[in-house]
């Protein structure tokens, strides 16, 4: 069973512009799913719909086999959410915040005391647990918010930019915690971010979203294969003829998409035969960032050719 199934989901706020356009996603249990797109692309709207805070204009979605709209309370029991538009109570202490949200989820008070301390410890906040959140730095507040999403042992965790505003050490700790949750407890992570390098480091499945449209879904390999972009040959060279189709990046650095070793060898030989000089050559895998921009560029090209 998939943790999340979304089928042709649409959302419009004003009846004219669509915030989401026929979104369909299937996310298996235990995956760390990266929902990647710029600000205003529809990531938070999707999270809000999947948690019953917003109602979809049309389409179908289910969480752990439960259709949205029927019993959202059960969905809230199994999901933990941390978005940039939801915060913790600043007039309460870190521990009071966790205990309050634990009680809201119906957790027994004795169990809650132990559990909130253990979460605060993992988030590096145990020593300040009795201080009011308003005295915390923004990074610490973010970690408290993450703690709130974790307090009831959710099966699905929705995280919106979980490491933005965190210092490198704490960002690393949070990333480690997310990975551990996915591995040890088979928690499905729905991670919204525009930090593509971070997503590449942590996610096992990706989806690109822009202006409410899904541009691509799959593993890195699947996304890359669809664009014939599994490998890229990068050379530092001189006198490289345009006929070989290399892209001149800067100061004698050229790059080109290739299929594998044979094509790399053939290209290098042909450049040399043609009077070119090669000082350095390396086969590079595409980064998620390059892949994302490839998808964006293709969509732009497609829309401009349609408008012509």
């Amino acid at each position: 069973m998939n943790a999340i199934n979304i089928d042709n989901l649409n959302k419009t706020y004003d009846g004219q512009t669509n915030a989401l356009n026929n979104i369909s996603l299937k996310i298996p249990k235990g995956e760390i799913f990266g929902f990647l797109g710029p600000n205003g692309s529809g990531k938070t709207t999707t999270v809000r719909i999947l948690n019953g805070i917003l109602t979809a204009t049309s389409g179908y979605a289910e969480i752990l086999g439960r259709p949205l709209g029927d019993n959202n309370i059960e969905i809230h029991r199994s999901c933990g959410v941390m978005t940039e538009s939801s915060s913790c109570y600043e007039n309460l202490t870190a521990k009071q915040n966790l205990v309050f949200f634990g009680k809201m989820h119906g957790i027994d008070e004795r169990q809650l005391d132990e559990r909130s301390d253990s979460i605060l410890k993992r988030l590096g906040l145990l020593s300040v647990k009795d201080k009011k959140v308003k005295s915390f730095s923004s990074g610490m507040k973010k970690r408290v918010s993450l703690g709130l999403a974790l307090v009831h042992n959710p099966q699905i965790l929705f995280l919106d930019e979980p490491t933005s505003g965190l210092d490198p050490e704490n960002a690393l700790n949070v990333t480690k915690l997310i990975k551990e949750l996915a591995q040890e407890n088979r928690v499905t992570i729905f991670l919204c971010t525009h930090q593509l390098k971070y997503a590449e480091e942590i996610c096992s499945l990706y989806s690109f979203i822009k202006d409410g449209y899904i541009l691509g879904v799959g593993t890195f390999y699947q996304l890359a294969s669809r664009k014939n972009a599994t490998l890229r040959l990068k050379i530092r060279a001189k006198n490289v003829s345009e006929e070989f189709g290399f892209e001149n990046e800067s100061n004698g650095i050229y790059s080109k998409d290739i299929q594998g070793d044979e094509e790399a060898n053939m290209l290098i030989q042909r450049i040399l035969k043609n009077g070119g000089q090669i000082y350095e050559a390396v086969q590079q895998k595409w980064t998620l960032e390059q892949l994302y921009f490839k998808y964006i560029k293709d969509i732009k090209d497609m829309s401009s050719s349609t408008s012509l």
């Binding site: 939801s86 913790c88 949200f101 009680k103 989820h105």
Partner: protein
């Protein structure tokens, strides 16, 4: 009531007591109305004791009051006028202000501080959320009003012992005010605040609009003071009943529109 509703009410109470912007107005106004002003009235009574000519100057008011008032000595008259005509309206400012401040903080404050969305992700139904929020406003408002009334009774009973030779509070009129009118006006005021909270973006904005409710109460005060209107116990009972009915109608309307999408 379920555990999560109790947790929400207790959290709201905790927030009220730890927030200066809520606790300050809720302390200052009751202290002025139930301590300083009554002490001033008692001081005024002492002063009137020495100046019997004051009764002549109050003749126009006395003609509009029931005959029993003409039998009072000047200090007794001042205390009775304050208790029977001035304070019933004055006192209602306390529950209106409390439910306005707590209500604005409880709804708009949560929206402003982005904590309402966090609450909406917890397994609480919208009916439970509304009920807990209403109780979280109503209960502290009533406790503050009741505590203010106890202090008010002590101070006026000192005056009662001095000038009447017995305790003058609580009277039937004041019992109706505290246990019938005050809950009714608190409920109405908080319902009004919840309604405007949906449209307000900031705590201050919601507070200013909810403060408009003081105007009709002040009008009743003025009309009482100039003797145009004398509110009897039965009128107070009917006014309370009307306020309860209007509040229940409004709560039902709010509940129908109380959906997450309209709250965030």
């Amino acid at each position: 009531m379920k555990g999560n509703e109790r947790a929400l009410i207790s959290k709201d109470m905790n927030e009220i007591t730890s927030s200066k912007r809520i606790i300050m107005p809720m302390t200052i106004l009751p202290v002025i109305l139930t301590v300083f002003l009554p002490l001033l009235i008692l001081a005024g009574a002492k002063f009137m004791e020495r100046d019997p000519s004051i009764m002549e100057r109050m003749e126009p008011l006395l003609t509009k009051l029931p005959s029993e008032y003409s039998e009072f000595t000047p200090p007794q008259l001042l205390i009775r006028v304050a208790l029977d005509l001035m304070y019933p309206s004055f006192f209602l400012v306390i529950p209106i202000m409390c439910s306005g401040v707590i209500g604005a903080s409880s709804f708009v404050g949560e929206k402003e501080r982005k904590t309402l969305e966090s609450l909406l992700y917890t397994p609480i139904s919208m009916v439970q959320l509304l009920r807990a929020k209403i109780l979280g406003i109503f209960v502290p408002t009533f406790i503050i009003t009741l505590a203010s009334f106890v202090v008010f009774c002590i101070i006026f009973n000192i005056g009662g012992l001095i000038y009447f030779g017995n305790f003058i509070l609580p009277s039937l009129q004041w019992l109706i005010i505290i246990f019938w009118i005050t809950p009714a006006i608190s409920l109405f005021s908080l319902t009004f605040t919840v309604m405007i909270s949906a449209r307000s973006k900031t705590f201050q904005e919601a507070l200013q609009v909810s403060g408009l409710l003081v105007i009709p109460v002040m009008l009743v005060l003025v009309t009482q003071m100039i003797g145009v209107l004398l509110i009897s116990n039965s009128v107070m009972f009917i006014v309370g009943l009307v306020l309860y009915i209007i509040s229940l109608i409004l709560i039902n309307r709010i509940a129908a529109k109380f959906v997450p999408e309209k709250l965030i």
